[in-house]
Amino acid sequence: MSHSVHSHPQLDVQVERKFIPKQKDLGADVTWAKINKDVLKSLEKPRPVFWVIFFSALALFSFGVYCEVYQYQNGMGVADLNNPQVWGLYIATFIFWIGMGHSGTLLSALLHIIHADWRKPIYRYSEAMTTFTLLTAALFVLVHMGRLWQFYYVVAYPNERWTWPNFTSPLVWDATAIGTYLTSSLLFLYMGMIPDLAICRDNARGARRALYRFLSMGWQGTDRQWANFKVAYMTMACFLMPLAVSVHSIVSTDFAVSQNPGWHVTSFPPYFVLGALYSGCSGIITLFIVLRYVFRFEAYMTQPILNKLIKMTFAIAMVWTYLDLIEYATTWYGSDEVAKADLIYRATGDYALQFWGMIFCAMVMPFTLLIRFVRHNYVVLLIISLILNVGMWLERFQIITPTFAKSHYPWTWTAGWWPSWVQWGIVAGSFGWFTMLFMLYCKIFPSVSMYEVKEMVHEQNMEEKALAAQTDVHEAGLVPEMKGGQA
């Protein structure tokens, strides 16, 4: 960290304007051997707070399991769902988790395709996040199902009943898309991990060694392996990017193909995709800060990388905001009176608090990311990233609940419907489940990609060499980071 200027947020604009040299993404002290040492150490001895997080997650998850068992035995009625309010938190949280899964792919696939190298230290855990959020989302498909014990009816396989699922149902599209996405991102995650698993294998002992040996499958880092690996990795990245877009578009069709007011919106697919990226990015920021502290990744998860991440998040937030606002605008200026009434109800009715909460958390709060202090204070940033995600969860809640509360049919409107403790318990349990899995993952597998950071170091070295060789002192390192004029 070669920062010389620290600023106070309020005084931001008054800070003496001068060129700040562009920071490298990684410090100069990072060597290949150090990378191995640091990352492998994270598998052994994280900070004690790891166990605090892990066990609280386990406790939450256990409570969620209790709630689900209770619901399974007594029927969905314990969730206080009713005739118009048939979905409740389960579907809202389902979409939330699916959405969370999207940014991992964005970081690992899209940024890989465009060779944005700063992704390298952080893409691994984002990809893991994708996988585990999808696993969490898949839980909700089951939790939501009235007859969980008959879930296999949804699966397309030749059976003795001679029946097939209904391929016109967006839920089947969902299942297919999520299945594809989960499979693909799991494979993507795994494949990208193989060289690192080999490193682990070469350095571990006992059961872990056996595990890594099994998983690394005998990777030796030969040139042929690397060449094939690179091609395959790029190919999969190319598949994953459109897949991610299609997954959340398809999820949006759960709503968009229906006629319900507030759902029957043409712009839903891009809106959902952007919402997904948005919540995913803020999720990545949250985990960035947590992992950085818990596993002592300060050397890899550096401020410049975080800065880029934040910029990307802000940009996505703005696009999402725009899409959200035009959705309202088209409804407002459209001639569908029911949809319009529904919109007004959202903003003024029983769920106005949630609506304005969403507006505040997801539309206003991103602007704090413009403040330098926020970007540099990890605690504040952690809180803000959580707030952004609360906003995005509220967004899903207020897509579903108010529409049911005020649909086409006045007789079945509801007033002030609220989910029961069972629903909240299961939602909380899902956070526990995700955190538990994720923490477990980080404890067992390298959550920073060692070989790619090595590449990054290698490239930085090459660049420096090239720079040194050039006499031209073009301001590669002298682009002002803050907005402002010339000195």
Binding site: W162, T180, T222, W226, K230
Partner: protein, 175 residues
């Protein structure tokens, strides 16, 4: 004739490259450039270039996947819809194209990915056994050059490799 192996470890990429260059230009008999393997912690295209053309065929498998997957998928879905207990739903056609396209698209991606992965493992010969001449340091920060050659050529090769400041040279016999 049974071949022998030798492995040289280099700390510096440029030295390794020089070693390869020398191997290539030595023109000696008893070994082929194709049998030279570079083991490295990261991909080094610079080194690979020196080894000669080593084409990658994964994309053909991918192509196969993206062709077969969606077509068989679409036919299966449509035939399932049109099977004996077909039912009209919501006034839509029994074989509705837009929903089928959605699924076909997903199958397109899924089969593409699966085929790619499959092909990759095949191409990388994984899962497989590590060569006995493996050194853990190539997964850390060293570059290894593994040469397969007739046993009588090994000393000569070792000499070439030894000229470029290797950290260590290991051979079958060293074991």
């Amino acid at each position: 004739m049974k071949k022998s192996h030798t492995l040289a470890l280099y700390a510096d990429m440029d030295e390794a490259a020089n070693a390869l260059r020398e191997l290539k230009s030595s023109g000696m008999s008893g070994f082929r450039m194709e049998d030279v393997v570079v083991k490295s912690p990261i991909d080094h295209p610079e080194l690979s270039e020196l080894l000669g053309p080593r084409p990658v065929y994964i994309q053909w498998f991918t192509l196969l996947g993206v062709l077969l997957g969606p077509t068989t998928g679409l036919v299966l879905i449509a035939s399932a819809q049109a099977s004996f207990i077909y039912q009209v739903r919501g006034g839509r056609p029994v074989v509705p194209l837009p929903p089928d396209m959605v699924l076909t698209y997903e199958l397109f991606i899924l089969s593409g990915v699966l085929m790619t992965v499959l092909a990759t493992f095949v191409a990388m010969k994984l899962p497989g056994n590590r060569s006995p001449l493996y050194n853990a340091s190539v997964s850390e920060d060293k570059i290894g050059i593994l040469v397969k050659a007739d046993p009588q050529s090994i000393p000569q090769i070792n000499e070439i490799l030894g000229r470029h400041k290797p950290l260590e040279i290991m051979g079958d016999q060293a074991r």
